[in-house]
């Protein structure tokens, strides 16, 4: 269970971006959250991914209430959630090759020895081939880099995936390929998915159910 209860969050305590957002995902369930730009859905996605401490409210992951955020979150919770952001250029270290980018979570959790096998397996799953893995982000296209960012999110086998506008920058074919890779992973590992976006057609096709932003949160007063 991923349970957000009455979450109020923002970047200034006096002026939160949204109030009282509640959302529950069953294990293995995929939920699409639809909202216009600027409504705060990305902030909610950051809370769900343990990357942003809410002003108030609770996040419970598989029965355990989250009390620390970002680096203060215990590793077993942090690694239970994989996250993919909208802009691959801003979420990839330009100094790393795609291979090292995908392996980074393994390195950070002291599991470096698993890297060769795991990276090869995931590269195939997201459709990255050949010498692409030896290149750095400036040498690949947005679509190829986003494929690597998805592989990075899956490398620790998370039970939950948060995709924040994962395909907004991409063409139709790359979008379909990335969604197929996510669904293949979810089928194999039973992971739950929170997909945040504004493309109704895409989210309704992709997810078990979709929610309107206005139905799960109140705008800031």
């Amino acid at each position: 269970m991923l349970d957000l209860h009455a979450v109020t969050a923002g970047y200034d305590r006096r002026a939160p971006v949204f109030r009282d957002a509640s959302l529950t995902l069953a294990p293995g369930e995929s939920v699409g959250l639809l909202g216009p730009s600027g409504c705060g859905k990305s902030t909610l996605a950051r809370v769900a991914a343990l990357l942003h401490r809410p002003d108030s409210g609770r996040l419970t992951l598989d029965g355990e209430e989250v009390r620390g955020w970002r680096h203060r979150a215990p590793r077993r919770l942090r690694t239970a959630v994989g996250v993919v952001f909208q802009q691959p250029r801003l979420s990839a270290d330009p100094r790393l090759t795609l291979h090292d980018l995908i392996a980074e979570p393994l390195r950070a959790t002291g599991r470096r020895t698993e890297a060769p096998d795991r990276v090869a397996e995931l590269a195939a799953a997201v459709g990255l081939t050949g010498d692409l893995l030896t290149r750095r982000p400036h040498e690949v296209s947005d679509g190829q880099l986003q494929r690597a960012c998805l592989a990075r999110a899956l490398v620790l086998r998370p039970r939950w995936l948060v995709c924040d506008e994962m395909t907004a920058m991409l063409d139709a074919s790359t979008t379909a390929a990335l969604v197929a890779a996510v669904e293949e992973y979810r089928t194999a590992h039973g992971a739950g998915l929170l997909a945040v976006g504004h493309d109704r057609v895409l989210l309704e096709r992709w997810c078990d159910r979709t929610l309107e932003w206005t139905d799960c949160a109140k705008p800031a007063a």
Binding site: G127, T129, L170, S173, A177, L202, R205
Partner: protein, 331 residues
């Protein structure tokens, strides 16, 4: 049915591109073939959507038309920009001097609606300041007439007059897009070039931005929209050019392309089928590297219909460049 590469006789093309190629010279004598043999016409009042995956050469083509390619680029072919009257001399955008492009073409004969307006606008000046400067520069608007001209220019792109004193960072994505469009329209350019005008906008804003661009085409401008957003293209385009690995592989009427009979090139069919409202199935594989293109058809390695014939590159004939294209429907 008229061949897709010609325009109706009533309309003289504003832009005629013939065999446009762009090569980048790289270190070690390597070359990157970003655009190869692109040809199309674009008439006033018409919208041509150039669609394709990222990295297929769309934006390089736009830069070539504006003379904004980097120094290591080599161009071939012609891109004639015709004047309003038949007597006006056509300018070849590929060979014109920087002086000609800067003083008579950019802003005056081609308006650019940029990909990311937030990066295109000057961050330290208000929208009013930027519109006023552009009006003075392009139209020599006298100081006394500036306030009214600024409001009129903002109004043309539906930019709210009460927000004119805002700085770019105080604008939402949609409003910044309108401010950039207002700047592109100031010079009254007969050709509008929109490079990914809807990237990063949500669906409602995409529709609104696309509709506004369409309105400017209906006002008698020619509109070249470069996009990977097929929904936006479907919404406003009269014709569609599909680009793959630097080549235009299909050039056809938008209605037939998005409706029946549908696209004829296997790549275009795959691209449309990948849409979530259709099959939602990706084209297998990745686009080829532009520095290392296969000898024959560049799509053959990913193509379900590929045969030995695909070892020779197909030419664009009757609107499609493929040895195994869907048969055209003969009425």
């Amino acid at each position: 049915m008229t061949p897709a590469t010609t325009v109706p006789p009533s309309a003289t093309p504003v832009l005629s591109v013939r065999d446009l190629s762009v090569r980048f010279r790289m270190r070690g004598g390597r070359h990157i073939a970003a655009v190869t043999g692109a040809s199309f016409d674009l008439a006033a009042g018409q919208c041509l959507a150039l669609v394709g995956e990222s990295g297929c050469g769309k934006s390089v083509l736009a830069s070539a038309l504006l003379g904004l390619l980097p120094g290591n680029a080599q161009t071939a072919g012609t891109a004639l920009l015709h004047g309003e009257a038949a007597a006006d001399d056509a300018v070849d955008l590929l060979t014109a001097s920087e002086r000609t492009l800067a003083r008579t073409v950019r802003g005056r004969r081609i308006g650019l609606v940029p990909q990311s307006p937030a990066a295109h606008l000057t961050p330290v000046r208000t929208v009013r300041g930027q519109l006023a400067e552009t009006l003075r520069e392009l139209n020599r608007t006298p100081r006394s007439a500036l306030p009214a001209a600024v409001r009129a220019a903002a109004d043309r792109a539906a930019f709210p007059a009460e927000l004119l004193d805002r700085y770019p960072h105080e604008l939402s994505g949609g409003l910044a897009q309108r401010a950039a469009t207002a700047l592109a329209l100031v010079g009254g350019a007969p050709l509008l070039l929109a490079d990914e005008p809807t990237t990063g906008l949500d669906r409602d804003l995409v529709d609104r931005t696309a509709d506004e661009l369409r309105r400017h085409a209906d006002d008698g401008r020619a509109l070249l929209m470069i996009t990977h957003d097929l929904a936006a293209a479907q919404r406003i385009a009269d014709r569609v050019a599909v680009m793959y690995a630097g080549r235009i592989v299909e050039l056809t009427d938008a209605a037939g392309f998005f409706g029946t009979p549908g696209p004829r090139h296997p790549y275009a069919r795959g691209l449309l089928a990948a849409l979530p409202e259709r099959d939602f199935r990706p084209i297998p594989g990745l686009p080829p590297e532009l520095g290392d293109l296969p000898g024959g058809c560049a799509f053959a390695p990913r193509c379900p219909r590929a045969t030995d014939r695909c070892a020779s590159a197909p030419v664009l004939a009757d609107g499609v460049a493929c040895h195994h294209a869907e048969e055209p429907v003969r009425a």
